[in-house]
C-alpha cells in the first residue's frame, strides 16, 4: 500500500472508507477522490442512501392498547 493518499488504489481507499466515513471527517476532500470518478460516484451513492434513510419508516406511536396490555400484565404479575 502506498503511503501517499493521492496515489492509493481504489481497493485501498475503499478498505479505509468505513473508518474515514465513521470518523466524521469530510471524506469528499480525500486526495484519492480528486482523480477517481468511480470512488467519487460510490461516495455520492452512499450519501444518497444515507440521506434517504432519514425519510424512511416514519416514527409512530404505539396504540393505547399496548399500554393497557402492559398494565394488565403487571397486575397479573403483582398478584
Amino acid at each position: 500500500m502506498t503511503g501517499d493518499p493521492g496515489k492509493m488504489s481504489c481497493a485501498e481507499f475503499q478498505a479505509q472508507l468505513p473508518e474515514l466515513i465513521g470518523s466524521g471527517e469530510d471524506v469528499t476532500a480525500h486526495p484519492h477522490l480528486a482523480s477517481c470518478d468511480r470512488c467519487r460516484a460510490l461516495l455520492a451513492e452512499l450519501e444518497t442512501i444515507a440521506e434517504a434513510a432519514r425519510q424512511l419508516f416514519p416514527s409512530v406511536e404505539p396504540p393505547d392498547e399496548v399500554w393497557q396490555q402492559i398494565e394488565s400484565a403487571l397486575k397479573r404479575e403483582g398478584e
Binding site: C10, Q14, L17, P18, E19, L20, I21, G22, S23, G24, E25, D26, V27, T28, L33, D37, R38, R40, A41, L42, L43, A44, E45, L46, E47, T48, I49, A50, E51, A52, A53, R54, Q55, L56, F57, S59, V60, E61, P62, P63, E65, V66, W67, Q69, I70, A73, L74, E77
Partner: protein, 220 residues
C-alpha cells in the same frame, strides 16, 4: 458529486428522551426531571413507570416495527420490552444512558423473536458477523450508474427489509434512528470499528440492491 458534507460524517444525535423526533440535532444532557422519574420508577412507583413508558414508547415501538415490519408483532414486542424493563429496571446502574440501555433490552427482545421464528440469524454475534457470501459485492461500479436523484422510498424500504438482520439493525440504529457508533457499540456489545464496518457493508448492500432494481442486467 455533491459539495455537501459526506453522508457519512458524524451527523446523528441520539434522541435520548424519546420525545418527538427533532431531526439530527446535538445530543442533549440528561433532563433532571427524567432522572427523577427514573429513580422513582426504580423504586417501584407505577406512575413514574407510566411516565417512562410515555417518554420512550415511540422510539421503542418504531424500532420494533422497523425491525419486524409487522404492526401486531411490533406491538407484542413493545409490550414485552417494557415488561422486561419493569422486571429489570432496578438493575440499571447508569453505566450508559438509560435510552441506550433500554434500546439494548428491546433489541434483545426483537432478536429473540426473530430467533423463535427461525429467521436468518440466531444470535447477536452472528448478526454482527454475516458470512462473507452475505456481504455486499465489491464496490467498484461504473459512475454512470449513480443512484442520482431521489431514491424510490418503497424500493429502499424493501431493500432494507431484505438486509440480513445484523446489517438491518445497524442501518436502522444509525441512519434511521440517529444513534452514534459508540452508542450502537454499547447496545450491541461490539467495537466501534465493527459498528462502522457493518454500517458501511449495509449501505453497500443496499446500493447493490437498488442498482439491481434500476439496472436488472447489472446484477452483481
Amino acid at each position: 458529486m455533491p459539495n455537501s458534507s459526506s453522508p457519512t460524517q458524524a451527523r446523528n444525535a441520539p434522541r435520548a428522551n424519546g420525545g418527538p423526533e427533532p431531526g439530527r440535532t446535538a445530543p442533549k444532557p440528561a433532563n433532571p426531571a427524567d432522572a427523577e422519574v427514573l429513580t422513582r420508577a426504580q423504586a417501584g412507583d407505577h406512575e413514574a413507570f407510566a411516565q417512562l413508558y410515555s417518554l420512550h414508547k415511540r422510539r421503542i415501538y418504531s424500532l420494533c416495527l422497523r425491525m419486524v415490519g409487522n404492526v401486531a408483532e411490533a406491538e407484542d414486542l413493545t409490550q414485552e420490552a417494557f415488561l422486561q424493563l419493569h422486571r429489570k429496571i432496578a438493575t440499571f446502574r447508569g453505566d450508559s444512558a438509560f435510552s441506550t440501555w433500554l434500546h439494548r433490552l428491546a433489541i434483545n427482545v426483537v432478536l429473540m423473536q426473530l430467533r423463535k421464528k427461525g429467521l436468518s440469524l440466531i444470535s447477536l454475534d452472528e448478526a454482527m458477523e454475516p458470512t462473507p457470501e452475505e456481504g455486499p459485492s465489491r464496490s467498484f461500479g461504473a459512475p454512470d450508474l449513480t443512484l442520482s436523484g431521489a431514491i424510490d422510498r418503497l424500493a429502499l424500504e424493501r431493500a432494507v427489509a431484505d438486509l440480513p438482520t445484523g446489517y438491518r439493525l445497524i442501518f436502522i440504529l444509525h441512519d434511521v434512528e440517529g444513534f452514534e457508533h459508540n452508542e450502537i457499540a454499547s447496545m450491541l456489545d461490539c467495537s466501534i470499528g465493527n459498528s462502522k464496518s457493518q454500517l458501511h457493508k449495509a449501505r453497500l448492500k443496499l446500493r447493490d440492491a437498488l442498482r439491481s432494481q434500476k439496472h436488472p442486467e447489472e446484477r452483481p
